[in-house]
Structure formats: C-alpha cells, structure tokens
Amino acid sequence: MNIPDDLYYTENHEWGKVEDGDLRVGITDYAQEELGDIVFVDLLPEGTAVSRGDSVGTVESVKAVSEVYAPVDGEITEVNPALEDAPELVNQDPYGKAWMVVIRMTDPSAARSLMDSRAYEEYVKAEAK
C-alpha cells in the first residue's frame, strides 16, 4: 500500500497536499483498493464554500458508493475535470492524476491538524484488523 510521506491524511481516507494556502485533495491508495473499480466521480463545483467534514463529492464503484469529505474549512477553487470521463484514474493514480479538488484553506495552518503518513499507516493497520 502506497502512503506518500509528503501528504496529510484523514480518518475517512482522503489525502491532502499543501500548496501554499491551498490543499489539493484526493482519496488514498487504500481507499481506492477498498472501493474497487471506480465508475463515477461526482464533485461539487468551483466556488463552493465547505467546512471540514462536509461532502465535496461522491466516488462510486461497481459495488458501493463513498463520500469524499473536506479535510479542512475553505472554498473549492479547482475541480479535476479529467475524472468525469476517466474515473478509473482514481484506481490507477490516486495521488497524482486523480486529485479531486483544490480547497483554498480558511486557516492556512489547518492541514497540520491532520494525520501525517506515519499516523495514517498506523490508522489503516488498526482499521484492517
């Protein structure tokens, strides 16, 4: 299972990458493996204000549907246009081409309250038991 060191993580298996005052958000390798073949990704539009824990969209696999939650408060400033036609990117490249949204953080230091890669690895291990 791939858990890059330079990202932050949530208990709902989103990752966040800090880019100045923005947080680029997607779902983790573990999440895509659990969901299986992703067939649709639906995301909220740019300009939507979100609070931490709000849904920013849904990821649908053959077997199940899962919400994607905002890891931080802020405003969605970018939505990945590629996922509408190529939802399988979430399975193929969850940390790269399959980023989902960019959130302009209300508090630029908010990401620090999320898990780092080591904490997330422990969290996933515990959950898998």
Binding site: G36, D37, V39, F40, D42, T58, E60, V62, K63, V65, N91
Partner: protein
C-alpha cells in the same frame, strides 16, 4: 464457513468477504476485469457454497412434483431445469435447478447457499410421500467455468466435449485426477460454459488446472454484475417469499398445467386477477448507479422500487432490476431516486446485453 477452494482464493489474492456466513472472494483483480474476461474469454467461479440436495427412492417423483414448480415426470435422464420452491401464497422460498440423474429414481436439486438450511427444513416438513432426502452440500464442490473459451479450456483439461452437449443437459464423466465430474451445460452469467460438480477433495486440483489454462478467477462481484446484465434474478434481492414467479416474468419455470404443487392455487388466482407489478429492467440514461432500495417515480408518483442495481461493465451505464406498477410500460421513462438526485432511466426488457446463453425466454 469455507469452501474447499478457500486456499485457492487466498493464493489468487481474492478479497474475502462474508457472504451469508461463507468466506468468499468478492473480487481478485477487479470486478470489471473479471466480468469482461468472462464475456470475452473465460472466467472461473467458486460456487461450492451452493447446496446440493439429492431426492431419491420410489416416492421421489410424486414428492418432487408437489414441492417444486416444474413437471419432472417425463424429464429425460441428464436433463436440467430451472424451478422454484413456492409457499402457499405463491411466494418464492428459493429458486433452484433440478438435475435428473436417474429418471424416476434419483434427482439432484442445486439451491442457493443462503437458503440451503431453510430449503432442507421445508423439504423435510412437507415430505408426506416419504422420499429419501440427502444433503450432499458439504462434500460437493461446484466450479463454474463460463465464457466463450470455457469449452476449449474444459476440453484441454478433462477431454470433455462441451460443444457436443445441448444446453440444459449434463454428463457424468469419470476422470482419473478429479474423480467423477458432473458437467452441466448451464450457468448464471449468460456467457455460456459449464457448471462442474465434483467431490470437494478434488476441487483445488481442477481449479488449478483450469486457471493454468487461462480461466480467470472471478469473485462474487463479477458473478453479480454478469447475472444482472442478463436480467437473471437473485433470490433475496429480486425474488423472495413475498414475490411470485409471475411478477418476476419467470412463468417459463412454472408448469401451471401440472395437476398440483404447493403455490399453484395462489398463482392461478393471481393470473386470473392480473398482476399489480412486474420485475423489469432499468437502463440509466445518464451518469450514476441505481442501488437496491432506490425508489422509482413516474410523473412525480411513486411506481416502484429497485431490487438490484449496478453498473454494466459492458455498457458502462447504470442498470437495475425493479418492481414497477403494472401501468408502467416498456420504453417509459422513470426517475430513480439515487441519494438526493432523480436519475432518468428507461424501462427495458433484459438482457441488457446479448449473451450466448439466456435461460429466460424472450418475453411475449
């Protein structure tokens, strides 16, 4: 519970889930890949959790005539038919396949894994005729080899000529390495191929040989999307004790002409009174996936409910089976409530895609 193939599932990195108490693989490489492999080459499925019940003895025929919906009196040796156990209200206790091993003497019933215990209790408590009922489920494995390459792969491993067999027949073939195989030209995928019953102890070896020749291991996920693409009902989802075969368009598996069977009076009455709902297919017109339990509306009025839903890996769109009120016709558009959205869907008659073998005759 584990099937005799459990170690094979682990070896092939199957993702194991609980299925009615059975530890079964839901997928190995992925549902989509496994589904498409079955449609285009060959998939192999462990169905060993299913129940095999033998009904034998001098009174087996009158007992079977009364307890299930097909007339078996004239059923030839080595023929298979799809059938139901019904309750007095015509509700479906289980759907099953009946195998005529020796006419008048010995039949095998293959039933759903989750219903095996319930079926056995039902059979025992309604066995006024005193037929011999023998549950062979534990010692029997079932491997489904499905798809256009199934016949070639089976032939290369066992020498069996599946192409020379008619659909809905089976053959009992002694083999050295795998013991006696009961090879049935049936399936639950619409892709053609065989279902192979054999003694549990021989199952891992046969699984290994078939996969070594290119059969792709498929889990319950692909089994579900394959059957859904064909419109085959799943007991517990699309049919159950509150639905009848007539409502589910499965009249072909009910011989209303036979003198008497449990549930016949209720079905005859229902046929006379007319049906208030029918099981139909829904083809989504846009993005999204209908799921079991989603409500269906037409012109703002609730007309039914989805009983099975997924996305068709072949078509790339959402498909479903749903009970809709009688007034809704093929070709109509309905709204399916998926979370907070109303998704447009077209009412269609399955199969959703063309299959090589369809157990459900064209509806008239």
């Amino acid at each position: 519970m584990r099937t005799p193939l459990f170690q094979e599932h682990v070896r092939f990195h199957g993702r194991i889930v609980d299925f009615h108490g059975w530890e079964m693989p839901v997928w190995y490489s992925g549902i989509r890949e496994e589904h498409l492999a079955t449609r285009t080459s060959a998939g192999i499925f462990d169905a060993s959790h299913m129940g095999e019940i033998f009904v034998k003895g001098p009174s087996c025929v009158p007992f079977l005539e009364r307890i299930q919906t097909r007339s078996i009196e004239k059923m030839p040796r080595h023929k298979v038919c799809y059938s139901f156990f019904l309750n007095e209200r015509g509700g479906i206790i289980d759907d099953l396949t009946v195998y005529c091993v020796e006419p008048g003497e010995r039949y095998m019933l293959c039933v759903n894994a989750s219903n095996t215990g319930k079926d056995l209790a039902w059979l025992s408590s309604h066995n006024g005729e005193g037929a011999d009922i023998d549950d062979a489920s534990t010692g029997t494995a079932l491997i489904a080899l499905q798809g256009p390459d199934a016949s070639r792969i089976l032939n290369s491993v066992t020498g069996i000529d599946l192409d020379g067999m008619k659909a809905y027949t089976f053959a009992c073939v002694p083999t050295g390495p795998y013991g006696e195989l009961m090879v049935s030209k049936t399936g639950y995928t619409g892709a053609g191929g065989a279902e192979i019953f054999l003694a549990s102890g021989h199952a891992p070896k046969l699984w290994e040989e078939l996969t070594a020749r290119g059969a792709v291991p498929c889990g319950l996920g692909a089994r579900d999307t394959l059957r859904l693409e064909m419109g085959f009902p799943l007991h517990g989802n699309d049919i159950d004790e509150t639905t009848t075969p007539l409502e589910a368009y499965l009249n072909f598996a009910v011989d209303l002409a036979k003198p008497s069977f449990i549930g016949k009076d209720a079905l005859a009455r229902q046929r006379e009174e007319g049906l208030s709902r029918r099981l139909v297919g829904l083809l989504l017109e846009g993005r999204g996936v209908p799921r079991q339990g989603c409500a269906c509306e037409k012109d703002g009025v609730r007309v039914g409910i989805v009983t099975s839903g997924s996305v068709s890996p072949v078509l790339g769109v959402g498909i479903a089976l749903a009970y809709l009120d009688k007034g809704v016709a093929e070709g109509d558009e309905v709204d399916v409530a998926v979370r907070d959205r109303a998704l447009k869907a077209r009412v269609v008659h399955p199969p959703f895609t063309g299959g090589a073998l369809c157990i459900i005759p064209k509806r008239t």
